[in-house]
Subunit: 209 residues, 2 copies
Amino acid sequence: MQDRTKNTDATKRPRGRPRAYEPETALRHAADAFWRSGYAGTSLDDLSAATGMNRPSLRAAFGDKHDIYVKALSDYWDRKFALMGEVLAPGRPLAETLLQAYDAALGIYFSGEGQPRGCFVVGTAVTEALEDPVVREIVSDGFIGLDARFRDRIELARAEGELSADVDSDALALLASATMHTIAIRARAGRPREELQALARKAVAAICR
Amino acid sequence: MQDRTKNTDATKRPRGRPRAYEPETALRHAADAFWRSGYAGTSLDDLSAATGMNRPSLRAAFGDKHDIYVKALSDYWDRKFALMGEVLAPGRPLAETLLQAYDAALGIYFSGEGQPRGCFVVGTAVTEALEDPVVREIVSDGFIGLDARFRDRIELARAEGELSADVDSDALALLASATMHTIAIRARAGRPREELQALARKAVAAICR
DNA sequence: TGAATTTTGTACTTCATCGCATAATATGTA
DNA sequence: TACATATTATGCGATGAAGTACAAAATTCA
């Protein structure tokens, strides 16, 4: 048997000096920094301060600034899609479902400590997408994916007779995505949460009319 | 009479060495640089290269980087509002009017040499709006102004019987703005112009249904 | 106890960025 | 022609940013 005096955990530790951070929470803190100031507006020192890691550790763990950003961006999409997957599940009226989707999004857009921050993608990645092919593809694929989720859910409502049979599910899905985008933009532009909730209600009513 | 041998223009020139640039075109070129790389991603050297002016001249003419950006942003809104004012004028069917509004917007979003660039506000200012109160207010005011233009035009169509009397003009205006925003975002994310034109057609059909 | 291993922390180098000081240039005015 | 004026052009200094080399620290393994 092996000696385990120094390792009280059940999990087997790797060999050298243990990490002083959890990779997932560190990446989350790095994302917070990017979320605040954007990609170009965030320095490695900012990331270092946000994560509590020094620059060499940051590099060893996640790569350079661009690598860190791409990881944070992908992680954001993952969480957003997971959330939307839950919220858009069938079983409730379409209007209620859409409203909850926007409410869930607002929960993310106003998740900053003290101040709102909008959508990570719309607020930071869209700016970089023009000159950064990697970011551009991640952003583009995400938007298309969200369109598809909305379309599937709306098409379901149409098939079940909740919407008139002659509506265009694609068109309504685009309006649903557009509403998400406009909320994301306005949140970062400082519009208050209640105003955006009211906007969502009006938009949903118009889409489901 | 004064001697005018050196001044062939009819306009009275100021006293010292003449400027080597036109302020308006220089500001436009500076805006192009910001439009490409965003506020934080653009250096004074970039602006210098884009305008052909050296840094001291830039500063003397427009102030520091932030001043230049704010001037470019305000100028962009001015031109966009002028364009929307023309396009949203009454006299044609609402659907045709909205379609032309999106077409005009696409004309701006694809006005870059060779490559698309999206909306200056959505693509660059929204990122800064979070931490820059001056930018935030300009952005927010602009969005609210565009909402109002759309609402007025839609309300006119409703009052004239073009839309059913029980539609909510505010709600439809929000969808019209949202459609503009989603087009702006997607253009910067690299979606082709034809796709966005098709999107606009579907959105307009759904809004005016 | 000591070697091996992995991470941390400090510091150094290089380059970019910004503001400003100063000289050169091009005009109008006397 | 000389001078005043306003701009352009060059360059310096301080600061920030990014990458990396190297020693110190904390752990596992023999």
